[in-house]
C-alpha cells in the first residue's frame, strides 16, 4: 500500500522525504508513466503542490526566480516570463500538449532528467542556477553542473529543487529555441536546442548553446560556441559551428529517430538559429 502525504511547508516535506522509500511527486506526469511498470510501487509519496516555498514566478534582482512547482502552463502564460525570457514561454508551450502543460512542473522536468527534457537546454543556455534544499540546509548549483550522467542529477537523496534563478536579461540578449519532434504536438524531442547571446554588431558575445536528445544528458555545445564567440558571424561560420555541434554530441538510434538524423538536424538547426540572431533565416 502506498501512503500519500500532503505537507504544507518545505521543512515538513523534507522531513517526510527522509523516510525510507519516500518519493516526491509534483505533476506526476513522469512518475505515473514510470510507475505503471509492475515492480514499481512506493511506500510513501510526498505531494509538493502545496508548498508555498516552491511556488510562483518573481522578479529577482533584474532576473527571475521560478518556483520548482510552477507548471508549464503557468510559465507559458506568465507576463513576466514572456517579457523577459520569451524562449521560456515558447518552450513551455511545446511540452506535451495543453493537458500535460497544466500538470507538468519545472522541478519534475529537471529532476526526472530525461535527455529529452525540453526545459533543460533552456535553463542551460540562460545560465540558470538551481536552488536546492535538504534537511541539512540549502545550496545553489549552476545549471551546467546539474546533470551528471544519464538520468543522474546533482540532487542528493532527500533533497528537493526549490526553484531556479535566471540572471538578468536585457534588450540585447538574443534568445532562440527550437524543438524538432516527430509531429507538431505531444511529441518527445528528436533534437531540442536553446541559444542565448548578446549581439554586438555582427558578433555574438557570451554565446551559450545547449541541446537535448543528442547525448545521455543535456549538453552545452562548447565547440560550436567557441567558434562563433566574438567573431564576425558569416553564413560560413554559422555552418561551421553547426558541423562542430554535430561532432561534439553522441546521439543514439531509437524508436523516435536515428543518430545520423539527429546529428544532421542539430547541425542545421544550430546554423539556422545563429543566423536568425542577425535577423537572417529563421
Amino acid at each position: 500500500m502506498t501512503v500519500a502525504l500532503r505537507p504544507t511547508s518545505l521543512s515538513e516535506a523534507l522531513d517526510a522525504l527522509g523516510a525510507n522509500g519516500a518519493v516526491a511527486v509534483a505533476g506526476c506526469t513522469d512518475l505515473m508513466v514510470v510507475d505503471h511498470a509492475p515492480a514499481r510501487a512506493h511506500a510513501t509519496v510526498v505531494d509538493l503542490s502545496r508548498l508555498p516555498e516552491l511556488r510562483g514566478v518573481r522578479e529577482d534582482s533584474g532576473g527571475l526566480w521560478i518556483g520548482a512547482a510552477t507548471t508549464f502552463a503557468e510559465l507559458r502564460e506568465s507576463k513576466l516570463v514572456r517579457e523577459r525570457f520569451p524562449i521560456v514561454a515558447e518552450m513551455a508551450g511545446t511540452i506535451g500538449a495543453l493537458q500535460i502543460q497544466n500538470r507538468a512542473t519545472v522541478g519534475g522536468n529537471i529532476a526526472n532528467a530525461s535527455p529529452a527534457g525540453d526545459s533543460l537546454p533552456v535553463w542551460m543556455a540562460l545560465d540558470a542556477e538551481v536552488e536546492i534544499a535538504g534537511r541539512s540546509g540549502s545550496r545553489r548549483v549552476p545549471y551546467d553542473e546539474m546533470h551528471r550522467a544519464y538520468r543522474e542529477t546533482a540532487l542528493a537523496p532527500g533533497e528537493l529543487i526549490v526553484g531556479l534563478r535566471l540572471p538578468a536579461a536585457d534588450e540585447a540578449l538574443e534568445q532562440r529555441f527550437r524543438k524538432v519532434g516527430t509531429r507538431a504536438a505531444q511529441a518527445i524531442s528528436k533534437v531540442v536546442v536553446a541559444l542565448a547571446a548578446r549581439v554586438h554588431g555582427d558578433e555574438l558575445h557570451g554565446l551559450r548553446i545547449a541541446a537535448g536528445s543528442v547525448a545521455p544528458t543535456p549538453v552545452r555545445l562548447r565547440a560550436a560556441e567557441a567558434l562563433v564567440e566574438g567573431q564576425p558571424l558569416t553564413p560560413d561560420l554559422a555552418a561551421a559551428a553547426g558541423l562542430a555541434a554535430a561532432r561534439e554530441v553522441t546521439p543514439i538510434d531509437d524508436v523516435r529517430s536515428t543518430a545520423d538524423y539527429r546529428r544532421f538536424v542539430l547541425a542545421r538547426t544550430v546554423r539556422r538559429m545563429l543566423l536568425a540572431c542577425q535577423g537572417g533565416e529563421a
Binding site: 509531429r183 524508436v255 536515428t258 538524423y261
Partner: protein, 738 residues
C-alpha cells in the same frame, strides 16, 4: 450471395422477414408484390436529404451521455484483463494461484502453453475493480521460455528459420499474365521504370479499443454489449461461449468508437468475457488496452512491391510486371494487385505471402488497396516524369472512366495545379523550402446487400420510430435512418426517433466494404414509402379522395377535400398505430464510385520535414444523403492517409523479439496540428439515384498523392512509407550530391 439466381415469379418479389414463434424471432422468406422501386424524392424537392445535417446523436456524444461499450457499468460486474507475452514466441508456464489469492480476484488462468505471435494473450484475470485486476495480473507467476521467432522478412526467409506454419514461411506465389507478351510490350516503351516500393504495417487506432461487456447472471438470457461493426454478427459466437442458444442472446451496439474493419466478430476479448461470465454468473467487462489493441487485434498488411512499368512516348502505359510480397504476420495479408486502377495493356504479376510471428492482418478501411495504390500512383508519376509529361495529363491517358477524367480537371484546378510552376519537371533541392503538388485516384465497388429489414412505426399520438439492428460506427447511420423517414413523411428531422444497435431489431449486414448505406438506406426508403402509403390511405378515407391525391408536407396532410395537421392525421390511426417493414431495393443502391485527390506539400529542405498544406478530394457517392457526414468521411479518410504517408509504422526489434511501438507515444498518428486545409467535396456530377457508402475509397489514394507531391516539390522520390524526415533528408542529400 445467392439472391441473384433466385426463382422468379412475375410481379412478385421474395423478401426475408421475421416471424415470432413461441416468443422467439424466426426468419422466413415471403413473396410480396413487387411494386415499383420506391425512389427518393427528386433532389430539388428534398428538405433534408442532400443537405448538411448535424448528426442526431451529436449532443449525446459531446456531453458524454452516449454510452459506449466501455462505459457500461452493471451491478456486480467483474473487470477482466489479459497478460500479453512480451516475446516473439515462447513456451509459457503460469502459476495462477497467487493471483487467485489476491484481493478481489475471482478468476485467473493461463490461456496457452506456447504462443504463436508477439504479444499473444497468455493469461486472463477477473476481479472486482480494474485496479484489483491489475494487481492480480502482477501477482501471476509467469515463466517464459523464449522460442526462436521470425519478426521480419530476413528472419522469415533465412535458411533453417523456425516455421510460422507447416508449409513454410513463404506462401506459394500466385501468378498471372503472359511473360512473353509483357516482354514484347516493354520493347515498345519509350520510358521504363523499375523500382521497389514498400508500405509498413499500419494499425487501425480505433479510439475505442476492442471489447465487450457481458450481462449474464446465470439463467436463460444474456445481453452482450460489444464494440463491433456487426450487431447481428456477434450473437452466434457469444451464444457458443456462454453455452446458450442464439435466441437467448441479445447484442447491443449503441455507440461505437470506430472499427475500420477490425471489429467484425465478437473477437478474443468478447469470447473471454463470455467464458468468464458463464463461469462466474456475473457480468464481465473486458476492454483491450492500447497495447493489446496494437499487438493482437489485426492490422493493415505491410508490403514490398517490385514494379517494372513502361509507357510509350504518347504516355500510354503498355507494360507492367510486379512482384509483391505481403506481410500479414501469421495471416496471409491482403493486396489489391497491380496494375491498380489504371489500365496497362499487358501485365504480369506475382504475389506471395511471407509469414512471421506477428498477429494476423485483418480488414482495414479498403483492405489491400492503399498498398497497391501507393506503388501504382508512384510508378505512374515516375513514368510521367520520365516523359516530361504533365502528371494530370498522363493520368488521363491511362484512366478509362469519364468520372476520373472530369474529377482530375476539377481537382487540379482546386489545388492550384494550373498555376504551379512544376507541372512537367520537379522543383530543386536548393534553398530552404520547396512546394509541390501530387495526385492520386481510386475507385470502389460498394453495392448493397439485401439483408436489411427496417421497421417504421407511427403511433396515433404522432410519434415516429425507425428501427433496424444495424450499427452506427460513428459514420452517421442513425442520422440518415431518421432523415430518410422524416423526408418522406414530411416530418422534421427530430420528429423521427432512430433506433439501432440491437440484435432484436430487424436484420442488417455488418458494416464492411462501405456497404452499410447502400444496404440500409434503400430499405429505410422502402419502409418510409410504405408508411407514406398507409398514412395517405388513412387521410384519403377521411377526405373521401384517392390516396394519390394526398400530399404529406411539414404541415401534415393535404388533399382536395381539405387539410389535416400531423397530429390530426395520426389520430386517425388505430390505437396501436401503424407499422411497416422495408426491405432492400436494388434500384436505390449504386455500385462503383470514383475518387480523385490532390495534395500540396511544403518540404523543409533543411530538416526533411514534410508539411501537407492542402488536400482536395472529389468523391462520387451517388445520391448524397447527408453532406456533412459524407464530408466527414472524406476528411477522416484523408487524415488517415496523411498519417499513413508521414507517420505510421509498426516497429518491432527482430533481434530482441520485442514490440517497439505498442503505444501511442511511440506509434504516432497525425494530430490536429498536422491537419492541412481540407477541401472535401461530394461529386455532384454523379447524378445516379442510388446511394453509396464512401468510408473507404477516399483513404486509398492519399499516401501516393503526398509522396508524389514531395517529388514534385524537390525532385526526390520516396518509395518507402512513412516519409519520415530522415528518409526525406537522405534523399535530398543524395540528389544534391548527384
Amino acid at each position: 450471395m445467392s439472391f441473384m439466381q433466385e426463382e422468379k415469379r412475375p410481379g412478385k418479389k421474395k423478401i426475408k422477414t421475421t416471424r415470432v414463434v413461441n416468443g422467439l424471432d424466426v426468419e422466413e422468406e415471403v413473396w410480396v408484390d413487387d411494386l415499383e422501386a420506391p425512389l427518393f424524392k427528386p433532389r430539388e424537392e428534398c428538405r433534408l436529404l442532400g443537405t448538411r445535417m448535424k448528426r442526431v446523436d451529436g449532443p449525446a456524444k459531446l456531453t458524454g451521455a452516449a454510452e459506449y461499450t466501455s462505459d457500461v457499468r452493471l451491478e456486480g460486474m467483474l473487470y477482466a484483463k489479459v497478460l500479453l507475452c512480451p516475446f516473439g514466441r515462447a513456451k509459457v508456464k503460469i502459476d495462477a494461484a497467487p493471483a487467485l489469492a489476491s484481493k478481489g480476484c475471482v478468476h485467473a488462468r493461463q490461456l496457452v502453453d506456447e504462443t504463436k505471435y508477439l504479444g499473444q494473450p497468455v493469461a486472463v484475470v477477473a476481479a472486482a475493480t480494474p485496479e484489483l485486476a491489475e494487481d492480480a495480473l502482477r501477482a501471476l507467476v509467469v515463466e517464459y521460455e523464449p522460442l526462436p521467432w521470425v519478426l521480419d522478412r530476413g528472419q522469415a526467409l533465412a535458411e533453417g528459420a523456425p516455421e510460422v506454419r507447416s508449409r513454410g514461411n513463404l506462401g506459394r506465389p500466385t501468378e498471372d499474365g503472359d511473360a512473353g507478351e509483357v516482354e514484347a510490350a516493354f520493347a515498345q516503351c519509350a520510358v521504363v521504370v523499375e523500382q521497389e516500393y514498400s508500405v509498413p504495417v499500419q494499425h487501425h487506432v480505433c479510439l475505442e479499443t476492442h471489447g465487450t461487456v457481458v450481462d449474464y447472471r446465470g439463467g436463460e438470457d444474456a445481453i452482450v454489449y460489444c464494440s463491433t461493426q456487426s450487431t447481428h454478427g456477434i450473437v452466434g459466437d457469444a451464444a457458443e461461449s456462454l453455452g446458450l442458444r442464439k435466441a437467448q442472446v441479445r447484442g447491443i451496439v449503441q455507440h461505437m468508437g470506430g472499427g475500420f474493419g477490425s471489429k467484425f466478430g465478437l473477437e478474443r476479448a468478447g469470447t473471454l468475457a463470455c467464458e468468464i461470465s458463464r463461469e462466474q454468473k456475473r457480468p464481465v467487462h473486458l476492454m483491450w488496452n492500447r497495447e493489446a489493441e496494437f499487438l493482437t487485434s489485426g492490422n493493415r498488411t505491410g508490403a514490398w512491391q517490385r514494379v517494372k512499368a513502361g509507357a510509350n512516348k504518347d504516355g500510354r502505359m503498355l507494360a507492367m510486371s510486379s512482384d509483391v510480397e505481403r506481410y500479414g504476420g501469421i495471416g496471409g495479408g491482403s493486396h489489391a494487385g497491380l496494375p491498380y486502377l489504371y489500365s496497362v495493356e499487358k501485365s504480369l504479376r506475382k504475389h506471395a505471402s511471407v509469414y512471421m510471428h506477428l498477429d494476423t492482418n485483418c480488414a482495414m478501411r479498403a483492405p489491400g488497396h492503399p498498398q497497391a495504390s501507393f506503388a501504382m500512383e508512384s510508378v505512374v508519376d515516375e513514368l510521367a516524369a520520365g516523359l516530361g509529361m504533365d502528371a494530370v495529363e498522363f493520368r488521363k491517358r491511362n484512366l478509362n472512366s469519364p468520372a476520373h477524367l472530369r474529377q482530375l480537371d476539377r481537382v487540379a484546378e482546386l489545388i492550384g495545379w494550373n498555376e504551379h510552376p512544376n507541372r512537367t519537371a520537379p522543383g530543386s533541392v536548393d534553398g530552404f523550402e520547396a512546394v509541390g503538388i501530387g495526385f492520386g485516384c481510386s475507385r470502389w465497388g460498394v453495392g448493397g446487400s439485401p439483408v436489411c429489414q427496417v421497421d417504421v412505426r407511427v403511433m396515433n399520438d404522432g410519434s415516429v420510430t425507425a428501427e433496424v439492428g444495424s450499427q452506427d460506427l460513428g459514420t452517421g447511420t442513425r442520422t440518415y435512418l431518421a432523415a430518410i423517414v422524416a423526408e418522406e413523411l414530411g416530418r422534421p428531422l427530430d420528429g423521427v426517433q432512430a433506433r439501432l444497435g440491437d440484435s432484436r431489431m430487424g436484420n442488417a449486414n455488418g458494416s464492411g466494404g462501405s456497404t452499410t448505406t447502400p444496404s440500409l438506406a434503400p430499405a429505410v426508403q422502402d419502409a418510409a414509402r410504405q408508411m407514406r402509403g398507409v398514412l395517405s390511405v388513412a387521410a384519403a378515407e377521411h377526405f373521401g379522395c384517392a390516396p394519390e391525391e394526398v400530399v404529406l408536407d411539414p404541415d401534415g396532410a393535404r388533399a382536395p377535400g381539405g387539410k389535416l395537421t400531423w397530429l390530426e392525421l395520426c389520430a386517425l390511426l388505430p390505437p396501436e398505430g401503424a407499422s411497416v417493414r422495408g426491405t432492400w431495393q436494388s434500384d436505390l443502391a449504386v455500385s462503383g464510385v470514383a475518387c480523385t485527390q490532390a495534395a500540396r506539400v511544403r518540404v523543409d529542405l533543411l530538416t526533411g520535414r514534410v508539411k501537407v498544406e492542402k488536400m482536395v478530394c472529389l468523391q462520387e457517392c451517388g445520391r448524397p444523403l447527408n453532406r456533412l457526414a459524407l464530408e466527414s468521411q472524406i476528411r477522416g479518410a484523408m487524415t488517415q492517409a496523411l498519417s499513413y504517408a508521414l507517420l505510421e509504422e509498426r516497429r518491432v526489434d527482430p533481434q530482441l523479439g520485442i514490440a517497439l511501438s505498442a503505444d501511442l507515444e511511440t506509434y504516432k498518428i497525425a494530430g490536429s496540428l498536422e491537419i492541412p486545409e481540407f477541401v472535401a467535396l461530394v461529386d455532384d456530377d454523379d447524378l445516379r439515384e442510388g446511394v453509396a457508402g464512401v468510408g473507404e475509397p477516399p483513404v486509398i489514394p492519399g499516401a501516393g498523392a503526398i509522396a508524389n507531391a514531395v517529388f514534385n516539390a524537390c525532385g526526390v522520390r520516396l518509395r518507402h512509407l512513412p516519409l519520415t524526415p530522415d528518409k526525406v533528408l537522405n534523399a535530398i542529400e543524395e540528389r544534391k550530391s548527384s
